[in-house]
């Protein structure tokens, strides 16, 4: 049986020479957590199931820095690596795959031009294409819906997150990386409603993201929703939870994880 996955996310600020892992809170405040390839190796050794690098600067001039980070990481880390941030076309993706990435994650460019999902999955296979969705709760006449944002949460699109997840899956996305903007950095737990609704609406894997602060939050999202993986950043970087301890806990509670 396939396991539920624990995925550390390394948000990278490439404005600093060589790049640094940073942690944002509600997409704004920032703390520094370390060198990307060093943190990635630490998590690999601790039993992480995959690593995600997100280029939060997503600026064109800094693209080469991300490629160096991936190259360095892949020399010592032998689990799947996903890279996201600022990928706009096949060429951008190709460079990252060549550097050693296994999957690329797209967000803004995919919403702006959905056909990109199709082009990438045709060129590299569905398994290599992750569509990231940053969703914010909205209330209309007492009913809650989730709005997709782009440009790292700076711009709203009016697009319904679940509708977009379904469409992305149809276009050939292999996975959905679903971040709750309301919960991101708050340590209050994953947005269960968002994750439940989305993971039940589509047949491709969903990676839950945003809000984890305690071990029980992972248990909660795995028990109450159909998500296949959970992403965490700050809680792991600052040693609040260690991966071996987390996996042991999940296993003892009946969740199928790799230990």
């Amino acid at each position: 049986m396939l396991t539920r996955r624990i995925i550390p996310c390394l948000d990278c600020d490439l404005g600093i020479k060589g790049g640094r892992v940073v942690k944002g809170i509600k997409f704004k405040k920032i703390r520094y957590a370390g060198l990307p390839w060093e943190l990635a190796e630490r998590y690999y050794k601790e039993g992480a199931d995959e690593i995600v690098f997100l280029d939060i600067t997503a600026s064109y001039e800094k693209r080469a820095t991300m490629i160096e980070i991936v190259e360095k990481t892949c020399q010592r880390v032998f689990i799947p690596i996903t890279v996201g941030g600022g990928i706009k076309n096949i060429e951008d993706a190709q460079k990252l795959f060549k550097a050693g990435a296994d999957k690329i994650s797209i967000n803004t460019a995919a919403i702006q031009r959905p056909k990109l999902v199709q082009e990438l999955s045709k060129a590299f296979g569905s398994q290599a294409v992750v569509v990231a969705i940053d969703a914010k709760r909205r209330y209309k006449k007492g009913r809650c819906w989730f709005e997709c944002s782009i440009y790292g949460g700076r711009k709203f699109t009016g697009v319904d997150a679940i509708f977009w997840a379904k469409k992305a899956a149809k276009l050939g996305a292999g996975e959905i990386l679903l971040t709750s903007m309301d919960r991101d950095g708050t340590k209050q737990g994953f947005d269960l409603e968002l994750n439940k609704k989305t993971s039940e609406a589509i047949s491709i894997p969903v990676i839950a993201s945003g809000g984890v602060g305690e071990k029980r939050h992972f248990l909660e999202v795995f028990k109450k929703t159909k998500v296949n993986a959970a992403l965490a950043a700050g809680t792991l970087h600052f040693n609040k939870i260690s991966i071996p301890e987390l996996k042991k806990y999940l296993k003892s509670k009946g969740i199928n994880v790799r230990v």
């Binding site: 049986m1 396939l2 396991t3 996955r5 690999y44 199931d49 892949c74 020399q75 010592r76 032998f78 689990i79 799947p80 795959f97 060549k98 550097a99 050693g100 990435a101 296994d102 296979g125 569905s126 398994q127 290599a128 292999g174 996975e175 047949s203 491709i204 894997p205 296949n228 993986a229 790799r258």
Partner: protein, 198 residues
Amino acid sequence: MIIIINYGMGNLRSLANAFQFLGEKVKIIDNPKEIERAQKIVFPGVGHFGEAMRSLKTRKIDGAIQTRIHKGIPFLGICLGLQLLLEESEEAPGVKGFGVFKGKVLKFQKVKIPQIGWNQIKIQRKTKILKGIQDKSFVYFMHSFYVKPSDKKIIVSQTHYGKDFCSTIESENIFGVQFHPEKSGAVGLQILRNFIKL
């Protein structure tokens, strides 16, 4: 020295990195001449069965690969590289595989595809390629098709996804794994180390 065959199907960087990490020299090759001299071959691949065969033919390396396999040098097929060793695939009806092993490549039914993630290998018997690996170890999969060889004796591990399927084969000098050892952490590295030591 390990020769990794490049025929334009997937990224070979991680695989080369893994061998280098283990202290082994690697060379990525895309021409028949150098394949003919190879002493140990890794045949990776991600993508479409039909396109892979076409690409091998265009590069004129299909014959050289066949020759080396029959010569008896250690040969490791990974993912699509394993599937291509069979006779045919549901992914590309009418396209002939290498046919080194009798049998077919089938598509998963009634489960989410692709299978992406960590799953266990149930080891069937003592083998060279899985030496030192514990039964039910986790490895990383990323595929929609699986091999069904006619000769059950060559199946050395099975994995459960909807039903049991063949995840590792071994027959004399020929080995094949459906998962990605270069992405399977310490377990995967042990498998590559076993191949280096052959």
